[in-house]
């Protein structure tokens, strides 16, 4: 089926720019007028409207500070735990309170600090490194941030009401499923909400790194940070969805007693462990890689030479990304799996050391080959490398199953994981804070306070966690709230507690340095570290436009190798130096070679994201207290907000089809299908969605593998006739959706509209038939009907979303938002339906064929 062209013009004019074009000066009065227009278009809203800003610089800052606040709270919880453990048989806190503290410490550090901080830092820095004006979807970042704030406060706030989750941060059933009170629900729903915000950020960052690079920045010269962002974004898409699927099953069990993890009715708690750790282990690398990416930016600067082994670092990022998905069972070595299975995971756990080690060696080689200038960021990086290496070594030990059997669930594990997380995340991130602070705040942090903070945290850290290896080897289990005196653990625990307070003192100094008033500080130099990458072309004092003009980049370290670039950027010599219509715009370039292909309008300040986040929050938070009607109302309002947001400000027909972007180049202002950023965002989102769906299907086959009677003898099955009808209806729906896209493009608007009327009807018929097919089954009775119901609920919910999208396109067609020429919406919707149709047909196959086949 060949798609007719839409008639949107192709890029025209000169590219790449010639040296003569670049050398020609910009007339002064023109430059002045451009500057004024640009400044006006990108200004953050003043006064009380400030929170409605969506600029990546503002949202990124809020995001970072929020994550820091949650981290400090989780740190205080750790201090309380250390106080409780300082002496044997202590009664400072009760056992129940202690359970809440360690559960929330782990959950908050992971879900409210480490992962969101990656997103926060990337949103803040990535556009600068890529010379872009902003991220491609600023409102999506803002929506993600407000969701994170609401969800985070809800989850961590439960601690103050003595209602926090208390089954450990990995929520193993049956402990977590049977737990009384709302703790487990708060964990499940609150964190699911935040996970969805994470996926939104991942989509934004991947599209940013792939499509918003400056012209000329091919993949072999992009900053290493962008490589890491791409890898980590990809990992989030495959790691978070299994957990979301797990949460979905878990919450169905908690709320409606569907027995997914209850062995008395055919369920299996091991399924949760698998789904959790398929998420949980890659997650460690999701935290580690972007932090080490900061080291990859700092090290060339301090060594004053290009990174040694650029391709090797790309290898290690991509290789670690893949291998980290083959490790999850090393958290489950003691669950009684066949030893040959343990062998696979042990082998993969040892293999992942190789790429991880390669990047460390590449860093060391760069430092050895360069002339190192010891700066404060470098001090923190050195600490990171030392600590991370020690954590890595105990990791190699733990990857060996027999050793793990001995120390499983002891303080040895606690020591190991803190060494990897402090070395792999906390230290490099603090290095990044010192390094990028001049870029973020246009101020410098104190050298003296920074050294104090470093030595306190570094020595305190080792004092706390080095003895824990021994505490663990001497048998102290993790998560006990107290211990008797005669086991030889007393002294070691006291040392750890003292160390913990030294770390806290270091953090107090660091945070003070961060927030102390710096008004008296003189204006800083623009590139205080003499770095070579694009973010250091920033404007001092601050401008909100990102870059004055988007440069043509031909080297890995443009500030070192393209000496005239800075002056030309400032003069507005390069691309998009103006905002003639007073609208925010950035360049979209091709994926591999970064050839300019489109001018993308980006959205400005708004309150709709706040409303959407608030109502989405309601949809997740009300069910925690079993308040379903308000949750449904809240969800409906969230959908209305999002529709309004999309309708008013995305993929609107432009005033003109193309515009002059400078240097003799004319670019289209509208794109549909694979060349548009929206289509990429949909594609990436649906990849994550497909992963979550696969996890539910995996659950089905897991039950079949794990239990001898699945489906149980004589069990009622889904009604085959209705399942067949559903499959036919979904196939018809798909044909009509794609048909609508093709007919609309070909100009047959009336026929396209007819398709868009019929498609939702067939989709609804499909979902209804599926529901009818399982209607007679009792999901509380056994896991077999429960999983069939779960699949049905999944498909029905997606159908609902898909129907709304089809009607959105129909409305677009009726009201002139969508025309044969400007048809991005229907392209994205048909992409959505490609995925959902496959999911629906797989579901029909599982329901209809499995009873015969298994």
């Amino acid at each position: 089926m060949k798609t007719p062209p839409s008639g949107i013009p192709k890029p025209e004019g000169t590219y790449p720019p010639t040296e003569a074009m670049l050398a020609e000066p910009v007339p002064e009065d023109l430059a002045k007028a451009q500057t004024a227009r640009l400044r006006k278009a990108w200004a953050a809203p003043p006064g009380w409207r400030y929170p409605s800003a969506v600029n990546n610089t503002e949202v990124g800052k809020w995001y970072c500070m929020t994550a820091l606040s949650f981290m400090l709270m989780a740190g205080v919880m750790a201090l309380i735990m250390r106080l409780q453990l300082a002496v044997p048989e202590n009664d400072l806190v009760s056992a129940d309170r202690f359970n809440q503290l360690f559960t929330m410490h782990g959950s908050a550090m992971m879900f409210l600090f480490a992962v969101p901080l990656f997103e926060a830092i990337s949103i803040l820095l990535l556009p600068g490194m890529l010379g872009a004006r902003d991220m491609p979807f600023p409102r999506l970042s803002a929506y993600g941030y407000w969701s994170f704030l609401i969800g985070g406060i809800f989850v961590i706030g439960s601690t103050f009401f003595d209602a926090a989750p208390r089954a450990g941060w990995f929520m193993y059933p049956p402990l977590a499923t049977e737990d009384e009170g709302p703790g487990s629900d708060i964990w499940l729903l609150g964190l699911s909400f935040i996970e969805i915000a994470s996926i939104a950020a991942a989509v934004e960052l991947i599209v940013g790194a792939l499509k918003c690079r400056p012209p000329g920045m091919r993949v072999n010269i992009m900053p290493l940070y962008a490589w890491y962002v791409m890898v980590v974004g990809g990992m989030i898409l495959f790691a978070f969805p299994p957990l979301i699927a797990g949460d979905f099953l878990f919450e169905l069990e908690r709320s409606f007693d569907w027995p997914f993890f209850d062995p008395t009715r055919g369920g299996d708690p091991m399924l949760w462990q698998h789904l959790f750790w398929i998420f949980g282990h890659p997650e460690v690398y999701i935290i580690f890689l972007p932090s080490i990416a900061i080291a990859a930016m700092v090290i060339p600067t301090v060594a004053r030479r290009p990174i040694f082994g650029y391709s090797w670092i790309v290898l290690s990022a991509v290789g670690t990304g893949f291998l980290s998905f083959g490790l999850w069972v090393h958290h489950m070595f003691t669950t009684g799996l066949p030893s040959i299975s343990l062998g696979f995971f042990s082998a993969a756990s040892e293999a992942v050391v190789i790429p991880t080690g390669i990047q460390i060696f590449a860093f060391l080689a760069t430092l050895m080959a360069g002339r190192v200038k010891m700066t404060l960021p470098m001090l923190w990086i050195s600490g990171a490398l030392a600590i991370f290496t020690m954590g890595g070594l105990t990791g190699v030990m733990l990857a060996l199953a027999p050793f793990d059997f001995q120390v499983h669930d002891t303080y040895f594990i606690v020591a190991h994981l803190h060494y990897t997380l402090f070395g792999g995340m906390v230290f490099p991130v603090i290095a990044g804070v010192y390094y990028f602070f001049p870029f973020i705040q246009k101020k410098l942090l104190s050298e003296r306070l920074g050294k104090w903070a470093f030595w306190l945290i570094f020595s305190g850290f080792n004092l706390t966690f080095l003895p824990m290896h021994l505490t663990g080897l001497w048998g102290m289990p993790r998560r006990v709230y107290t211990y008797p005196t005669d086991l030889g653990w007393d002294g070691l625990n006291m040392i750890s507690t003292i160390g913990a307070f030294i770390i806290a003192a270091g953090f107090a100094i660091f945070v003070w340095d961060l927030i102390r008033p710096k008004g008296h500080q003189p204006q800083i130099p623009r590139n205080p570290w003499d770095a070579g990458t694009l973010e250091w072309t920033h404007d001092v004092p601050e401008e909100t436009w990102g870059v004055r003009s988007i440069p043509h980049v031909t080297t890995r370290y443009p500030l070192w190798d393209q000496p005239q670039m800075q002056a030309r950027m400032d003069a507005g010599r390069y691309y998009l130096p103006d905002a003639e219509e007073g609208k925010r715009e950035t360049l979209v370039t091709s994926v591999i070679d970064a050839e300019p292909i489109q001018v993308q309008r980006v959205t400005g300040p708004t309150w709709i994201t706040h409303l959407a986040a608030l109502f989405t929050g309601g949809a997740f938070i009300f069910p925690t207290f079993h308040l379903y009607p308000p949750a449904i109302v809240s969800g409906a309002l969230a959908i209305c907000c999002i529709i309004w947001w999309l309708w008013t400000s995305t993929a609107r027909p432009p005033e003109a089809d193309s515009k002059d972007v400078g240097l003799g180049l004319r670019l289209p202002t509208y794109a549909a299908g694979p060349s548009s950023v929206g289509w990429w965002a949909m594609w990436i989102t649906m990849l994550g969605d497909a992963t979550a769906f696969s996890s539910v299907v995996f659950g089905f086959f897991f039950y079949w593998t794990a239990s001898p009677d699945f489906p149980p003898d004589g069990a009622a099955h889904a009604a085959a006739g209705w399942v067949g009808l559903a499959a036919v209806a979904f196939a018809l729906n798909w044909m009509m959706t794609v048909g609508a896209r093709q007919l609309n493009r070909a100009g047959s608007v009336g026929a396209a509209r007819l398709c868009l009327v019929l498609a939702p009807a067939t989709a609804a018929l499909g979902a209804a038939s599926l529901i009818v097919s399982v209607w007679g089954l009792a999901p509380e009775s056994h896991v077999y009907p429960a999983i069939l119901w779960a699949l049905t609920v999944w498909i029905a919910a997606h159908t609902g979303a898909g129907v709304i999208m089809q009607l959105y396109c129909l409305a677009g067609s009726l009201f002139g938002k969508m025309t044969p020429r400007y048809d991005a919406d229907i392209w994205n919707v048909s992409l959505f339906w490609h995925f959902v149709t496959i999911s629906a047909l797989v579901t029909c196959a599982v329901m209809g064929l499995a009873p015969e086949a298994l």
């Binding site: 000329g216 920045m217 091919r218 993949v219 072999n220 010269i221 290009p306 650029y310 391709s311 090797w312 790309v314 290898l315 991509v318 290789g319 893949f322 291998l323 998905f325 083959g326 799996l337 066949p338 030893s339 040959i340 299975s341 343990l342 062998g343 696979f344 995971f345 042990s346 082998a347 993969a348 040892e350 293999a351 190789i354 790429p355 980049v553 031909t554 080297t555 890995r556 091709s590 994926v591 591999i592 070679d593 050839e595 593998t705 794990a706």
Partner: protein, 134 residues
């Protein structure tokens, strides 16, 4: 090794044209590793749970491992040719030209195929060294 050099005229300009799929191509080696890993783990898990013949499965998976190794070697060889270090003498590919991007993607794919090779060998070892489902 980092100074400017004139592009090799023998190489066809078209070869360096934008390779949309090439970003995915560099993940081919790791994808073979992943597929091999999933099949090994999944099949062994089902075999042990259902009491199938683990001996036969081990032999079959041994054959699969040989196939996976051959696949990775082929990917590595193609990537080595794309990198072309023996003809260009350039190990760094740091310039913003289509040619350097082309060679760079070859280099990255080559290195990834080495890691995948090690990964496949590592993951195959339990099949050889561990007797069965106990």
């Amino acid at each position: 090794m980092t100074e400017e050099r004139t592009p090799d005229r023998r190489e066809d300009q078209k070869e360096f044209a934008e390779e949309e799929a090439s970003l995915l191509k560099i993940t081919l080696g790791p994808l073979i590793w992943a597929a091999h890993f999933v099949v090994c783990y999944g099949l062994v898990a089902v075999t042990c749970a259902k009491g199938w013949d683990i001996g036969a499965v081990r032999i079959g998976l041994g054959g699969l491992s040989a196939l996976a190794l051959a696949g990775v070697l082929w990917v590595g060889w193609a990537a080595w040719r794309q990198w072309g270090v023996t003809t260009t003498g350039d190990r760094v590919n740091r310039l913003g030209s289509a040619e350097d991007r082309h060679h760079f993607l070859g280099h990255a794919a080559f290195l990834l195929s080495i890691i995948s090779l090690i990964g496949v060998v590592f993951v195959s070892l339990p099949l050889v060294l561990i007797g069965g489902c106990q």
